[in-house]
Structures are given as structure tokens and as C-alpha cells.
Amino acid sequence: MFYREAGDFKTSYTDDSQTFPIKFDRYRYYVVLGVAFGVIPFLINDYWANAFLLPFLIYSIAAIGLNILTGYCGQVSLGTGGFMAVGAYACYKLMTAFPDVNIFFHVIAAGGITAIVCTAFGLPSLRIKGFYLAVATLAAQFFLVWLFNKVSWFYNYSASGQINAPERTVFGVPVTGANTEAWATYLFCLVFLAISAIIARNLTRGMQGRKWMAIRDMDIAAEIIGVNPLKAKLSAFAVSGFFIGISGALFFAVYLGAAEAGDSFGIQKSFLVLFMIIIGGLGSIFGSFAGAAFLVLLPVALKLVGVDLFGWPTDIVAHIQLIIVGALIIIFLIAEPHGIAQLWRVAKEKLRLWPFPH
């Protein structure tokens, strides 16, 4: 009914291989983009931006980054928090060292620096796989956090080791610092997310993505058919690091405004992003969004319902929240091990046949 291919004729290869070949899907995508860019900025307030939308957008970028590495290329990483810290500290150093350069370029440069660091820590992946690689990336996590705590150059020798984002503007509108408007920070992050998602989607659809998936599915077979594992694995680390670095930079500069390596970019962050892609769906760009939405929005929504609607004590709600989120994760993984993205795929398949399932 809804997802009908009938009557949707393609007359060129470009049409046939586009991201959303089904017309309904394509229009839905345009509507989502239109609402995100054209409607939400007019409705948004500080609470919505800071409680829901900014963390959702920023974690989505991080989840896309990790999904490329883990979901597409099959290299398990527990270093996401550390790599986000690289992005954040790189952005901070650039912001304070070159105050006249636009913050937009600082964020991109922070992504680039993180890509280099991430590639360096990806070198062990050429020799080790699976759980062993996870432990190697875990070492990256601890090393990077220790480094940003230990070397005071990274936080400009401030007494407490905290980094603070000074005010920076885009087209004269502040996007970091204290005097930001909700719509400006939202749009700034949204632009990065939209571009990241489009790049990631097209990379994974193209030759590079197929190389990554070949490595993920069976690296020896991939090597035999001519995929260079060195290039494939390291490029996955680099691209993944780029996105994670951008998300770390935005997380610090736009969302938190002040950060500290151990507190904001600890091991919990690595696990959180990993859970996002597992719940959302490994090897799916949509899954990165779905997982980020699930783990960012659900706790806040539960808190709103428990504390503000029912007036329960805050500690009880916090405990119930842990129980519910934990239970839902388990239920999800048992009911649909391939994540929310797979649920979405099944739903689409059903809708395609509906109302005549046979």
C-alpha cells in the first residue's frame, strides 16, 4: 500500500541506484529534512534543545562514526569516549589558538585530527581481531583520558583541568559560549549531522563500503578477491574517527560548554555509543539514529513522566529508569537481535504488501 514500487519506473541507472528508490520513502525523507531544517528551528526552546535535540544530534554523529567501524567494517572499538575527547580537546585548542577562524572549520579540523589519532590506534587491528582488538581500543580509551588529564598543555594550564568553550559565532550568530540561542546551536549541529549522514550513507553504498563489508564478513576471502585489508581497515578507522571527532567537538563546544576528560569522556561514553549502534542496528545508518534516539530520549522521557507527571521522588524515578531502560535493552536484543533498524525494515516489508499479505 504505502511502499509501492508499482508504477515507480526508473529510466536511468542513476535513478535506480539512488539512496531512496521508492517514491514514498524519498518524499518521507524530504519531509523529515524539511521539518528538521524548516519547522523545528522556529518552535525550539532552550529546554528542548539541551535536553533532547542536541544530545540526539551529537550522539547520532558518534553512532554513525562507530557504526562505520564496527557495523560495516567489523572492528569492535571501545575507544569511542577517548576519540570524542580527542575531538573535544582538539576543538578547544584550535578555538583558543585561532580565535579568528570560524568555528565551523575548527570542528572539521578537530574531526581530521581525531581521524589521524584513530588511525594510529587502528594499527593493531592489522594483527589482532575481535575481542583482542576491543581490548586494544580500550587501552586507547584509558590512555587518551589519562593524557588529557596529565598534560596541562591540553587544557591551557587552567587550575582545575576543565576546558571551557569561549563564544564563537557563525555569520554573526553565537553557536558556542553562554549567549547562544537554541535554534542556532540546533541548526549548527543539524548541519553537521545531515552532512555526516549523507557522506556516510554514500560511502557505505559505494566501493569503499563494500570493501569494509567484505572485510567484516570474512577478511581472508576479502583479501583473496583483491581487497587490501590494510587500506580497508585503516580507512574505516580514519572515517570513523573523523565523525567521532566531530561529535566530540560539538559535544564539548556546543552542548556542554565545559568539559573534563575523565568526567565527560569516560569509558561509560564508549559503552553508551556501542549500545546505541547495537540497539539501533549494526551496519545501518538509520540504526545509528534510532539507537541514539532510544538511549537519549527514553531516560529523559521516563524522568518527565515519573517526576513531573506523577510526582514520584527523584531517586525512585532514577532507579526505575535504570530498570526500564535495562529491561528494554534485553527485550529488544532478544526479540530483534538486529536492532531497531531491522524492525523498521520488517515494517517496511509488511507495509509494502499491505493490505494483501499473500
Binding site: D46, Y47, N50, A51, F52, P55, T96, N149, N156, S158, A159, S160, G161, Q162, N164, P166, E167, G177, A178, N179, Y255, L256, G257, A258, A259, E260, G262, D263, S264, G266, A293, L297, L298, V300, A301, K303, L304, V305, V307, D308, L309, P313, T314, D315, V317, A318, H319, L322
Partner: protein
Amino acid sequence: MKMKLTTMALTALMAAGPAMADLVFPSLSYRTGPFAAGGIPFADGYADYFTLLNERDGGIGGIPARLLECETAYNTEKGVECYESTKGEGALVYQPLSTGITYQLIPKATADGIPIHSMGYGRTSAKNGKVFSHVFNYPVNYWDGASVGVNHFKKQAGGSLEGKKITLLHFNGAYGKEPIPTLEALSAQEGFSLNTIAIDYPGQEQKSQWLQIRRERPDYVLFWGWGVMNQVAVQEASNIRFPMENFMGIWWSGAELDVIPAGDGANGYKALQFHNVGNDFPVFADIQKHVLDAGKAAGAGDQIGTVLYNRGVYAAFLAAEAAKAAQAANGTKDITPAMMRDAMEALKIDEAVMAAAGLPGFGPEFQVTCENHGGGGMAAVSQWDAAAQSWSLVSEFEASDNAIIEPLIMADSKAYADENAIEGRCN
């Protein structure tokens, strides 16, 4: 769909919460998470004092105080969410009880015109009111604590620390690193050698740190810890038979629950305090009568008179006094955050004020000014008596060495002012 439901829930909430004539005090508490053991008594004390004012006096100046509690679990992201969700309700002052959250709120709250009171934590250089217009850290800050602690050791050593070794054992984060600049300056002045040993979060395992202390044999150990880290450190110190009277914690490392697990081994452990200890004050009888016995306690009601409960009461007392002063200064009962800020900047706490609130001699006397948001920097040393299971003050409230601290505060606040292009005030 989920999104839609939350939208509906939120719009319903916004429609249901119009501005009421009451004084809103948000409490960004943490009753869960790794630091809950310290967060619960503080939150209870903070809430119970406002409940007492409402029950006994009908509020502050006749207007009821409304406490908005929001659970942060000591997590900075939840802290941001809590701040955004409560600031629209007319919040008068924020006391986040977390250095990380304080750092985040400093620019945000300043832009929104809401004062922050980080009592004995947060950014030390916020003492300089010329730069930090909306941040207050009276009556004392970490650098005062470091200075008073070193002065105490100096007295204990017979007047000179020349050639002595002092180790700072600290939480490896913003909070624990704060005292290092002061101690470095003091070490140059007093001639002791300083060594810092960091404990990573959450600090349940400190064998290597204490092995290092055992090897280096410092004469004195200063300790900046919080949460489970405190109990472990005191236990480890007693295990290596470190002389407890030479081991001193900051005020966040000196509660009953930090020392009780170590039993007799903790006897003699010292901790700095910026308010009095014990429950021998008239206000606690009132809390017992109007709050606990009436079944209106915020928590289980078993924390009354403990160090951190007292600190919650003290924080609420200072906030309530500032609100009272704001009402008096503006001739209106329904004050705004801007009036609250002005009142905090002119706050004067003396013995008469404390006695009137049922807290005679509870804390040092101090006066806040436009230039000085940090009060007098007075702290006292308390000592744990394991046999009596109680803390008691073993010194008077003593001032810190301002000659050391003042230049450091100026340097750090100047760095912040430069980074954020802030013009000085108070001229």
C-alpha cells in the same frame, strides 16, 4: 510515536505549571550513582530546612519556599537537563554540589541572570566578583582549605614546615586538581616538598597510591576525595598504620560514613570544616519537631546531625538568608533571581543572624562584597573520635593565607575573563 507522547506530556506540563507566588529553590541532588552516599544527606538537609521554614514560619517572609528536586547522579549531562528544566520555574539560586556541573552552569546561568552558589566547591577563582558576576563561593573555597590545612600542619610541626614532605592525595578530576596551584605556592614559601598522587574515579582501589605513600614516607597527607574514595583512603591509611593525626581531608572527605568503616583505625583522622558539627543546635530540635515528627522529612530522616546533613542545612540557611535580605531590600515578597543575586552580593552573616536562625556559632562570620564573592575564607579542623563515634572541632575558624591565594585567584579569573572577553565590574 514516542516523540509525540513526550511532546504531549511536555505541553501538558507546561500548561499545568504557571508561575505561582512562591520562592523556587532548585536542588540538583544525587541520590543515585557513585556519590549518592554523600549526596543523600546533603539533599535531605537542604530540603528539610526549607520544609522547616514553611512549616514553622509559613515560608520566607510569608511566602512558601518551593524545592524543585532534580536527580543528576553527579552526571554533567543530566545536570544540564536539570538546569534547563528548572530554570523556567523562576529558580532563585542553583547549588549543584558538583564541580563539573558548576563549571558548565557558570556561563549559562550568568547569561540567564540566575546566581549560582557553589559552597566550598566549584571554580575557586569565582571568588573574584569582578569577573564572575553571578557565581558565589562563600564562605570558603578549596584554596582556603589548602592554606588552612597547611597552616594547621605547620602549627603541629612546631612552627616550621622546612624540609617536611607533604603529599596531596587527590581525585583525578577538576575537583581534586583545584588545590595544586596553592600548594605549589605554599611549598615554595614554607619550604616543604610537595608530591601529588592522583586517584582515578571512582577510587575503590588505592593499593598502589598507598604503597607509594608508604615508600615515600611523607610527614603529612592532605586528601581531596569524595564518595567511596574516602572510605577506602581512610581504611588504607589505617592499614599501613599511617599516623592519623597527620592525615587530613578536605570538607568533602570528613563525614561519618567516611570513617566508620575503618573502625578504631580511623581514630584521630582530621578533616577541614567550614561549619560546625554535631546536632547540638536549636534548629535541629525544630527540624525534629516540625519536619521529622510530622513525617515530612525529605529522606529517611536518619541523617540529622551528620556532617553532610548539617552542610545541607547550612546551604539552605545561607540561601534563605539571602532571600530574606532580598525581600527586605526590594520591599517586595516575590523576589526575582536578579534581586536574589544582589542580595547575595551584599550578604552579611554574623553571630546575631545565625543565632536568630537557631544556628548559634554554626559557621564563621563573613561579609560578601562585589569584589569578594568568597567570604572570609575561614575554615576549622575537625577530628574523628572513634570511641565516641563523633567529629569535633579541634581548632577555631581560622583565616587562610590571603597573600598566597589572592594572586592565584587574580591570575585564574583573568585567564577566564580574557578567554571570554569579560569586562571587570565593581568599579
